[in-house]
């Protein structure tokens, strides 16, 4: 059970709320159904003065903001969207706890209960959306009713007598159009008056005699127990319907000092429940909900002057007839997803190129501040570590922004709900959710936005499972690796199928692992799919752009800082320690290798080598550097000839081997040997943890090929010659599955709310990758 930060608890000795008359911050809670436009109301109230985080240890988003009105400051807490205040999902539990606290506990400081609760309801679905309001009314949480989307309701022909509504409810009622910022001033005014003159209108909620009698009986039993408090009747109702959290609170009363209070209380609740069920012929929880609906219906009967037309959704329904068509629906959906994909990675390619060039230029500029041959660690730190690291993060920004632009647009129109409807059957079979589809597809481009996109999944288990398997969608950063390895190990005819095969293996593994996770770690039924399908709405540019920049900013701030830190760390680990003497220089000194001179016929020159031995000039031409598999001089008796370039590259290779990263590579050799890898691959794998593309360049350095990328034939042939194709396959499997890049791990941590899941993801995937690659290699070796 999560608790608000900073709350101190003590036994309750009086039942008052803190005095609001004093100047100070007014605490406002914003509650409402999903799809009620609550977020736009929140944005309208707080503008850009917002903070977003997670509730401790859960994947639920926590959003707070402030605004000024007159001489008071108002702190607004945007509660998770809920249909009612129950304990079935983390969202509902959190909303309930923020509004009513834990029974018997006094909340202090920032954990205080809100002074005003604004309930945002969708004015087009009042006969259902007012139910949450009825519950807030019952809590005595000083409510303000905000009838949002009132323009849509009026367009549909609905006419309400708001004055009568105010009179009947006894609370401020405001009509708003959140996304157009209409009615916000009136809302602020209503909040102010509610804060200055708090009302207790719990008696306005009429719940039926039998239920009231039952509640009274249970409330009497609660009196005097530690669960007692201002919200006694709410606690009574929760015990009556056997709400899991409240039953837990009661059971907890049976401590070593307090035997039996809890049990006695639960017994009373049980007896009343049975009596109620016998009298009404309905289950208690159903009866309570029925009473709420009855109250709402009665209220609406009094205040509705004209009902909305029946055909208010006609246009939306016609669109649905096409988009969710039994036959056309899926193809259309796939086309839409492809469109988003295309937008992100093809259109995004252009600014990506600019950013890449920009950072390269920056790197060169900074590099030029030092003399060309300088060995300065500071230069290396700035250019390779910082600029390289930051560049690696920023370069993805266009993709991320475009992706979130597309997804936000789809979300705000309401299409995402339709997508979940179409995809659920398939995904549910594998333990995922219909709404997992968009994030998974996103993962084909980059896991980072994919994991961020899992926010739309309301169920925590579904969301976590999706996050865990998402890195198996072969991401864009792995493409250079495939481009290197596939041609290196596969003959031409096999290449396209091999590449396709890798992607398919990724998807199949993701589905398989999801099933496995669902049966073990994330076991549990009770993840309802029951979902409302709101009418299509045209999103406002402001809302969509807002979501886009918010998520883009999150990426840069959070993933970015971690990546930068780790990039610098990795840079350090691959630079130091440096060897004191280079083997290649020793070879030059002993004569086993010779430094070739630039082609100047007839000229002699002397090359000074670290060992201080002068080498006689050669009037020969430049001899091309031999392949990395240098023949020891002793074998042929002839000295190996090196160019200056080759000398630098050999030194770089030795640097890497001598450094921490290189040592790690050698140290893990026994672990990776079952997969057929050696320490050179191991060294490159360490770099790949930072970002997958780094694998290619690290391999290049290890084999003293200098600056290589995936198109380098030299590197391809070097690999092809050195390792059998089986190692190639095993390597590809390992890179596909294991060690998600640190950006992924960082984002998983951020989105899931705890390190546990990020570590689980990393360790889990690495173990699976290791296992599968080992099996493939070992079994394959048996067949030769």
């Amino acid at each position: 059970m999560s608790t608000a930060a900073g709350s101190a608890t003590s036994k309750l000795d009086d039942v008052g709320r803190p005095d609001v008359g004093r100047p100070g911050v007014v605490r406002v809670a914003l509650a409402g159904n999903p799809n009620s436009g609550k977020t736009s109301i929140f944005n309208a109230l707080t503008g850009s003065r917002q903070r977003v985080g997670n509730y401790a240890g859960v994947t639920v988003e926590r959003r707070e903001g402030t605004y000024r009105d007159g001489d008071r400051r108002y702190s607004v807490m945007d509660l998770p969207g809920t249909y009612s205040l129950t304990s079935w999902s983390p969202e509902e539990r959190i909303a309930q706890e923020q509004l009513v606290g834990v029974p018997g506990e006094r909340r202090e400081g920032t954990g205080q209960l809100p002074d005003v609760t604004v309930v945002v309801v969708d004015a087009t679905t009042l006969d259902r959306s007012l139910v949450l309001f009825a519950q807030v009314l019952q809590l005595g949480a000083n409510p303000v009713l905000c009838l949002n989307m009132s323009d849509e309701a009026k367009r549909a022909g609905q006419v309400l007598d708001v004055d009568v509504m105010r009179a009947l409810l006894g609370v401020p009622v405001v009509e708003t159009v959140g996304h157009r910022r209409a009615g916000i001033d009136a809302l602020r005014e209503a909040i102010r008056s509610a804060a200055e003159r708090p009302v207790d209108v719990r008696d306005r909620l009429v719940l039926g005699d039998r239920l009231t009698d039952a509640l009274n009986a249970v409330a009497k039993a609660i009196e005097g127990t530690p669960l007692d408090g201002k919200d006694r009747r709410w606690t009574a109702q929760k015990l009556l319907v056997a709400d899991a959290a409240y039953v837990g609170y009661a059971r907890a009363l049976d401590g070593p000092d307090d035997v039996g209070t809890g049990t006695a209380l639960l017994a009373v609740a049980e007896a009343e429940r049975k009596a109620l069920e016998a009298a009404t012929g309905q289950d208690a929880d159903l009866h309570v909900t029925h009473q709420y609906f009855g109250f709402v219906a009665g209220l609406l009967h009094e205040v509705t002057r004209r009902s909305a037309r029946d055909d208010a959704r006609a246009l939306s329904d016609r669109i649905d007839a096409v988009l969710v068509h039994r036959v056309l629906g899926l193809p259309i959906f796939l086309a839409v997803m492809y469109g988003i994909f295309w937008l992100t990675f093809t259109v995004g390619e252009i600014p990506m190129g600019w950013i890449e060039s920009g950072f390269e230029a920056l790197g060169e500029t900074v590099s030029s501040w030092w003399p060309a041959a300088s060995d300065s660690p500071l230069r290396s730190l700035l250019v390779d570590g910082v600029i390289g690291g930051v560049g690696g993060v920023i370069v993805f920004l266009p993709n991320i922004l475009l992706l979130f632009l597309g997804l936000a647009w789809l979300e705000d129109t309401g299409y995402m709900a339709r997508a979940a409807f179409l995809m659920d059957r398939l995904l549910h079979r594998f333990g995922l959710h219909g709404q997992s589809f968009a994030p998974l597809i996103t993962g084909f481009g980059c896991s980072v936005p994919g994991i961020m996109a899992t926010r739309t999944l309301r169920n925590e288990r579904d969301r976590l499972v999706t996050m865990m398997v998402l890195p198996l969608m072969s991401c864009g950063a792995r493409l250079p690796i495939w481009m290197l390895l596939v041609p290196a190990f596969f003959p031409a005819a096999w290449r396209a199928p091999a590449l396709w095969g890798i992607y398919v293996v990724g998807v199949l593994l993701a589905l398989g692992l999801a099933v496995l996770l669902r049966r073990s770690v994330f076991r549990g039924a009770n993840d309802p799919f029951v979902m409302e399908l709101p009418p299509y709405r045209f999103p406002t540019a402001r809302a969509v752009a807002g979501k886009m920049t918010e998520r883009g900013g999150m990426y840069v701030r959070k993933a970015g800082t971690v990546i930068l830190g780790l990039s610098v760390l990795l840079w350090g680990l691959s630079t130091w320690p440096k060897p004191e003497r280079y083997d290649v220089d020793a070879a030059l000194a002993s004569g086993a290798a010779v430094l070739a001179m630039p082609d100047r016929v007839g000229e002699s020159a002397v090359a000074a080598v670290d060992a201080g031995v002068a080498v006689a000039a050669a009037e020969s031409r430049v001899v091309a550097a031999r392949s990395p598999r240098a023949t020891p001089a002793g074998e042929t008796g002839a000295a190996e000839v090196l160019t200056e370039d080759e000398l630098q590259r050999r030194r770089a290779a030795e640097d890497l081997r001598y450094s921490v990263v290189g040592r790690i590579g050698r140290a893990i050799e026994p672990v990776i040997a079952p997969m057929g890898f050696d320490w050179q691959i191991g060294t490159a794998l360490v770099g790949a943890f930072a970002a997958k593309e780094v694998f290619v360049s690290q391999m290049g350095i290890v084999y003293a090929l200098g600056e290589t990328d995936e198109t380098s034939d030299g590197l391809r042939s070097a690999l092809g010659a050195r390792y059998p194709p089986l190692v190639g396959i095993s390597l590809m499997l390992f890179l596909l599955i294991a060690t998600p890049c640190m950006a992924t791990v960082a984002v998983t941590r951020r989105e899931s709310g705890r390190w546990r899941w990020a570590i689980f993801q990393f360790v889990g995937l690495t173990v699976v990758g290791w296992g599968l690659a080992t099996v493939v290699y070992q079994v394959g070796s048996l067949f030769g």
Binding site: W88, T125, D285, L286, V324, M531, E532, L533, P534
Partner: protein, 74 residues
């Protein structure tokens, strides 16, 4: 007869809800209560989930969840 037995175009009136966890609460909160009139609008390409109309708004749910909604025999 339950909601899971209805086909697109058919409708029925709710008489009760069978026991069940979070899905049941969610259905109740969305107004699937005794007395409500539900109309099946369509089904997903593979037959599951189903799209239901009630009280002027639309709700989708899996067949397994719909099986908990008891309808009046017509």
């Amino acid at each position: 007869m339950s909601l899971a037995d209805l086909r697109p175009g058919q409708s029925g009136r709710v008489t009760g809800l069978r026991p069940g966890g979070a899905a049941r609460q969610r259905m109740m909160d969305l107004g699937i209560l005794p007395g409500a009139l539900l109309a099946v609008e369509r089904v997903a390409p593979t037959g599951d989930p189903i799209w239901v109309r009630l009280r002027g708004y639309h709700v989708s749910l899996r067949r397994s969840e719909a099986a908990a909604v008891v309808l009046a025999d017509e």
